[in-house]
Structures are given as structure tokens and as C-alpha cells.
């Protein structure tokens, strides 16, 4: 029973959501709206599980004085700080001027923006280390990347200003983006579409059942 009921739920719900695409009439017209609400509510409940897990792991680490336990304590402290302030602020927690907003602006934003910006360095080191003209395919990749990189910034214009209009680096970059790039992109997209259709069907038919776990 532990497996059959979830399988049945998956199948019925899956087919229901396929059907709703074709029927504009109520209640089918509302199904995806409902699902979005339900998913939001389940998500909000689930994060309690996640947060408890994070706290449990960190408390254990701190309590047992495992290596780097001090940082685990920092996680507990900052998590509780943000949560307590956010809940206490009430519905307007996001408004400018609240403590939550202060923490958001001066702690959260610099951290996530920097993590984001670190990518610039990683991109450069990956370029140096891994993008090799190993074979014809890889060479094509590099050539396309070169045209795009140089053609999309003003330096490309400066370097190729002696060429006739239509043949300058920026024009070539545009052409690469508009045609061969789009073609490849589209092949990938159609492939992904087919893959998703097939995977969805396998799930609805109950052939893929990893998410359901085992039966007893």
C-alpha cells in the first residue's frame, strides 16, 4: 500500500494536469492556480523540516565540539537572528527601514553579490585552464566565443573599423548569435522538450518511481 497509493496519486494528478491544458472550462481552468497555491503552502511547511535539519546538524557540531564548531555556532546565531527579526517585523518585513531590510542590504546583498562576482575570476581561470582547441569541435567553440566576446564590446569596433560595414567584428558576432547559435540552441531545446515529455510519461505511468521510495 505504501507504494500503490502514491503511484496512483501521481498517475491521476499527472493525467489531470495534462487534460487541463485542453479544457478552458471551470474547474480545469483553475487547476494550475490551485496547484501553485498548494505548492507554495507545502513549500512553506517543508522549509520547517529543512530549517530543523540545518539547526540539528549545526547544534550537534557545536555541542560535540567537532572541528570548526565555532562556525556552526555562527550559523545557528545568524539564522535565529534573521528569523526572529523577520517574524517579529510582521507583514511589512520587507519595507525599507526595517531591521530585516538593514540586514538584507548590508549583510545578505554584499555576500550574495560577491559570491556572484567571484564567478568572473572562475570564468577567467576556467578559460585559461580548460578551453583548449583539442579537436575541431572545441576549436569551433573557441572561435564562436572569440567573435562574440570581442564583437559585443566597443574594442571590437575599434579593431575592425577598417572593414566595410556588415563585415566588422560586431556584425559577425550578430550573425553568429542570430543563425548558427540559434540553430544549435533550438536543437537543444527541441531535444529537451522530447526528453521532458518522455520523462513525464514514464513518471505518470509509474515506470520511474524513485521519488516514492520503497514499499513494505
Amino acid at each position: 500500500m505504501r507504494q500503490e497509493i502514491p503511484l496512483l496519486i501521481t498517475a491521476i494528478v499527472g493525467i489531470g494536469f495534462v487534460i487541463q491544458y485542453f479544457i478552458p472550462h471551470w474547474p480545469f481552468s483553475r487547476m494550475s492556480d490551485w496547484f501553485s497555491d498548494w505548492f507554495s503552502i507545502v513549500g512553506a511547511c517543508a522549509i520547517i523540516l529543512g530549517a530543523l535539519n540545518l539547526l540539528k546538524m549545526s547544534i550537534e557540531k557545536t555541542y560535540r565540539r567537532k572541528e570548526d564548531w565555532g562556525y556552526a555556532a555562527v550559523i545557528i546565531g545568524t539564522f535565529l537572528l534573521m528569523t526572529v527579526i523577520g517574524i517579529a517585523e510582521g507583514r511589512g518585513f520587507r519595507n525599507p527601514g526595517t531591521s530585516f531590510d538593514w540586514l538584507y542590504n548590508y549583510v545578505y546583498i554584499p555576500l550574495s553579490a560577491t559570491m556572484f562576482a567571484i564567478l568572473a575570476f572562475f570564468v577567467a581561470s576556467a578559460s585559461y585552464r580548460a578551453f583548449r582547441a583539442r579537436n575541431f569541435e572545441a576549436t569551433l567553440l573557441l572561435i564562436a566565443a572569440f567573435f562574440v566576446m570581442i564583437g559585443r564590446v566597443p574594442v571590437g569596433h575599434t579593431l575592425s573599423s577598417f572593414m566595410p560595414v556588415g563585415w566588422q567584428l560586431s556584425d559577425l558576432a550578430s550573425w553568429v548569435m542570430t543563425y548558427p547559435q540559434t540553430a544549435g540552441q533550438r536543437a537543444i531545446m527541441i531535444g529537451i522538450g522530447l526528453g521532458i515529455v518522455s520523462t513525464s510519461l514514464r513518471i505518470i505511468l509509474g515506470l520511474e518511481r524513485a521519488h516514492i521510495g520503497g514499499g513494505k
Binding site: R2, I5, P6, T10, V13, G14, F17, Q20, R30, W34, D37, F39, S40, I41, V42, A44, C45, A46, I47, Y71, V74, I75, T78, L80, L81, M82, T83, G86, I87, R91, L103, Y106, P110, L111, A113, T114, A117, I118, A120, F121, L140, A144, A145, V148, V153, P180, T182, A183, G184, Q185, A187, I188, M189, I190, G193, L194, V197, I203, H211, I212
Partner: protein
């Protein structure tokens, strides 16, 4: 307070950047703060936007929301080890609904529309977007059809990539590689822009060296 805020931001910014040198206590501290603060941030956001915003504010008008609450409750039964397996029901529900929704969305947007867009007369300039539609566009229209066709052949699983079929698949991978090259170029562009933004903060907002 304003000075403190700026220095705090800068301290955390540099802490994350120090990871580039190597893993170190400054990074570990920034990382721990980040994990804690962001977990709290999302907890609070989901609490107010989803639990309160979607359920609490609406259950009087929309009885269907109770289904969501029930699913959420079943999910929370995870906390009771003996009947934790019931949480599979909401999961089965979510996976089923996602499968149905994605099946149709991707069939329509990724397959139907893209196939429709690929079927275009050759040697015409109908693809051209923008002012210049010359030879580039005419060759381009051919390139799009050939690229999409061969690229799709590359993804064939049930046929050995040999002979003419293999050659077609190989042309396909050429196009996919050009696509990745373009993506690579654009990613470099994007990441550099973000770094520019961050350095603009450090040198401009924090240290006031540039305007």
C-alpha cells in the same frame, strides 16, 4: 551606523573574495554568516509570502486552499518517524502535477513553436531581424535549418552514429559547439559585468575613489 554598515558590507565582501586565495577563517566566517542569514531570509520569506500570504489570508474565500494545507500537514508528518512515510503522498501529488504541467508546456513552447519557427522557406530573408537583411540572412536561413536538423540528429539514442547518419550527427555537434561558444562568450560578459558592479561598490561607494 552608516559607517559601520559600509564597513560590515566591505568586510563580508572581502571575506568571500579571500576564498580565491585559499580556504581560510575569514571565508569560513563569511560563509557561515551567509548560510545562516540566507536560510533565515528564505524561512521568513516563505512564512510571510506563502503560509500567511497564500493560505492564511485566503482560506475564507477559497476553500480549495485547505487541500494545500492538508498536503503541507502530511509533509510535516515527516517529524513523526513511525508515520513519516505518509509524506510520500504530497510528494507524489507534486511530482504528478509537475509532470503533467511540464509535459504540456514544453511540448507547446519547446517543440511546437520551435518546429514551426524552423519551417521557413530557404533562401529568403524572412529570418532577418533588424535593418540589415542581405546575404547574411539568406545564408543564415539555410544555416538555421541545417543546424537544427543535424543538431537534433546528434541526440538520437537508438541508432549507432556511423556512416552518413554519423556524419550528420557530427555536423550537429559542430552547431551545438558554436552554441556553447556563444554561451561561453556571453557568460564571460555577464560575469565581468557583475564584477565591475562589485568593484564599483568597493572603489566607489566604500572608498570613494571613483565617482
Amino acid at each position: 551606523m552608516e559607517h559601520f554598515a559600509l564597513w560590515l558590507s566591505a568586510f563580508l565582501t572581502l571575506g568571500i573574495l579571500s576564498f580565491l586565495y585559499k580556504d581560510n577563517p575569514w571565508y569560513k566566517l563569511s560563509e557561515a554568516v551567509f548560510v545562516g542569514i540566507s536560510a533565515g531570509f528564505w524561512f521568513v520569506t516563505l512564512f510571510w509570502d506563502n503560509l500567511v500570504g497564500k493560505f492564511w489570508d485566503g482560506w475564507q474565500d477559497e476553500p480549495m486552499l485547505w487541500v494545500g494545507a492538508a498536503l503541507g500537514f502530511l509533509m510535516l508528518l515527516r517529524l513523526v518517524p513511525r508515520i513519516g512515510w505518509i509524506s510520500r503522498w504530497p510528494l507524489a501529488f507534486i511530482v504528478g502535477a509537475t509532470s503533467g504541467l511540464w509535459l504540456m508546456n514544453y511540448l507547446a513552447s519547446n517543440i511546437m513553436v520551435q518546429v514551426q519557427a524552423t519551417i521557413q522557406p530557404l533562401f529568403s530573408t524572412s529570418y532577418a531581424s533588424g535593418p540589415d537583411a542581405g546575404w547574411g540572412a539568406i545564408v543564415g536561413s539555410l544555416v538555421i535549418v541545417v543546424g537544427t536538423f543535424t543538431g537534433l540528429v546528434y541526440f538520437y539514442f537508438s541508432k549507432e552514429h556511423k556512416g552518413a547518419f554519423g556524419a550528420t550527427a557530427r555536423v550537429g555537434i559542430f552547431f551545438i559547439m558554436i552554441t556553447f561558444g556563444a554561451s561561453f562568450g556571453y557568460t564571460v560578459m555577464s560575469r565581468m559585468s557583475l564584477l565591475i558592479g562589485r568593484i564599483d561598490f568597493l572603489l566607489g561607494d566604500w572608498l570613494g575613489l571613483i565617482n
